[in-house]
Symmetry: C2
Subunit: 338 residues, 2 copies
């Protein structure tokens, strides 16, 4: 088969790779229905995160099980399944408390921009849908594998409750789905920080009540204006830079909550400022497996349509154009069809 | 009157100062029953925190109201009162959600090592006891003004619940009262990190089930040994250095909670490590006012005896010896009697 490999900054190739095989008895092989490019793929694509030689890419996936290892019990060939970007046994104490993305046996997936994928720890990682879903639901189902689950975790970590005032820092797919998640959790006011017209539009569609275009200190000042000088109850940090992190912390009210899911790149937090900010801080790699059953349900029942973040659809062999379009912010998120 | 003034590193003087007067109509003047030296006083005492000229010291206090300003409504002369080290109006939105130590009108107290004290925002800051308490209760009542309230907040911020496994980093009075607080909240296992025999003894008396004498990486490894390699549910950081903060974060299980109350001095948190640690982080200046009624109650009902942290009692005019004894770790905490 052919699959996606990153060779260096902005050098994405779709090239011949070996077909995946069952390696461990707990593995499954799935045939990809749809996959996509993640905002976090842009870090190494842009050369901002070193890679160790040619690197297979992709960690968002859903599709039909082709084969399972001898120790797999609950997952069967023919099932349509969705899994998290992080594998998990779903039985260890860390999984049991809902932090499957820190499972002792975690591996981060990285071969999913391909027609076939080996998924380790299939029983603990994959969630089957009832029957094979209709094609028009695939984009939304695919988001549960990472971006929706990550936006949902950001909102959950930021303690969004009915009536909350929420700020979302970052207008990528995760930020936009953070808006959707906050709305689902009953937030009353959702302020999206974005200076990109199309993303603002989608943010509003997902439930944003206000848009703030300013950034940094000016952005914080604007949030203070909008919140009687107090700051927001909950702030979702969906970028991962020093600026976005500080913008998030400074936009939060005393005693409020910052949920951060942007993988930090070069972020250093000053202890004294954090102390006097009086915020709650929680984040990390989203435990998507915890949320998968609920999010799949919301999609299948037509309650949410997170697949709208895909504003570009390409055949899988044009994956390089997907990266380019996202890098240049011409696309929010690129869906890839094998 | 005479009061305590810090002139520079290790230069504490007890010298003539003006008697405090009502300045704002919301002020009260109280006659000190007992006061004390705080671990945080040692930062400037040791020259590790700059001071801007001669600085009156002390922020822990309780005593009888002598006089109130014209706008004071609930506090009356003759009442025995206790207040937080941070003043608060107790009516603003930040106070209403329980973060009185970040009240818009907050001032940090700093004249309490003296026989008379002006307390701003008396109605919002002071809590009266029913009647004037017996002398033997004064040390315990005094701790509610800061160290007990701070240890309690550390445990609360670290989400200590019945059955929790708790680690306490720091064996000063706050850490020791963090142990007591965790016990009150129903923690099943409380691991105190201390290499000081007397403090270990008091920690055990307050409810510690285990003592760890190792520090840094070795201390973390020991905690992992004691928690099946997972880390603790809740970790109380009661020091404020880079080492203690990292020791706290690294001793916490994935999805666990760090409550930090040691005022950070030179602490920088690496965003990426924090992200993958998956901990909840919350702390800051303790909102002691939130806890005062409950903690006073626990003391008056004889449920707790936090005053045991005072292992040295001095007449107020020997305050300099109190600082010396604490600086040299000869005393856990020095009680001062005017």
């Amino acid at each position: 088969m052919k699959g996606t490999v990153l060779y260096g900054p902005r050098d994405i190739r779709f090239e011949e790779r070996e077909d995946p095989k069952i390696v461990e008895p707990t593995d499954a092989i799935i045939r990809m229905a749809v996959t996509c490019v993640c905002g976090s793929d842009l870090w190494p694509y842009r050369g901002l995160q070193p890679i160790d030689g040619p690197t297979p890419m992709g960690h968002e996936y859903c599709g039909v099980v082709e084969e399972v290892g001898s120790a797999v019990r609950s997952i069967k060939p023919g099932q349509f399944v969705i899994g998290s970007f992080a594998t998990s046994d779903n039985t260890c104490p860390t999984c049991q408390i809902g932090y499957q993305s820190s499972c002792t046996h975690r591996e981060f997936m990285s071969h999913a921009q391909a027609p076939l994928l080996r998924v380790p720890l299939a029983d603990g990682t994959l969630v089957p849908t009832p029957g094979v879903p209709k094609d028009d639901l695939l984009p939304s189902l695919l988001t549960t594998s990472d971006v929706l689950g990550t936006g949902w975790f950001a909102a959950d970590a930021a303690n969004v409750k009915p009536g909350s005032t929420v700020v979302v820092v970052g207008d990528g797919a995760v930020g936009l789905l953070g808006v959707l998640s906050a709305r689902q959790m009953g937030a009353e006011r959702i302020i999206a920080m974005s200076r990109h017209e199309q993303r603002q539009k989608l943010a509003r569609e997902f439930g944003a009540t206000d848009i703030v275009t300013e950034r940094g200190d000016e952005g914080v000042a604007r949030i203070m204006d909008l919140t009687h000088g107090l700051g927001a109850d909950s702030v979702l940090e969906c970028v991962g830079t020093q600026d976005s992190m500080m913008q998030a912390i400074r936009s939060t009210r005393k005693g409020g909550y910052v949920g951060y899911v942007g993988v930090p790149h070069g972020v250093e937090l000053n202890g004294e400022e954090l102390f006097f900010s009086h915020v709650h801080l929680h984040g990390g790699p989203a435990p998507v497996r915890r949320y998968l059953p609920k999010l799949i349900d919301l999609v299948l029942n037509g309650k949410i349509n997170p697949g709208k973040v895909f504003d570009l659809t390409l055949p899988l062999d044009q994956v390089a154009e997907g990266y380019r379009a996202m890098d240049e912010r011409r696309a929010i998120k690129a869906l890839l069809r094998p």
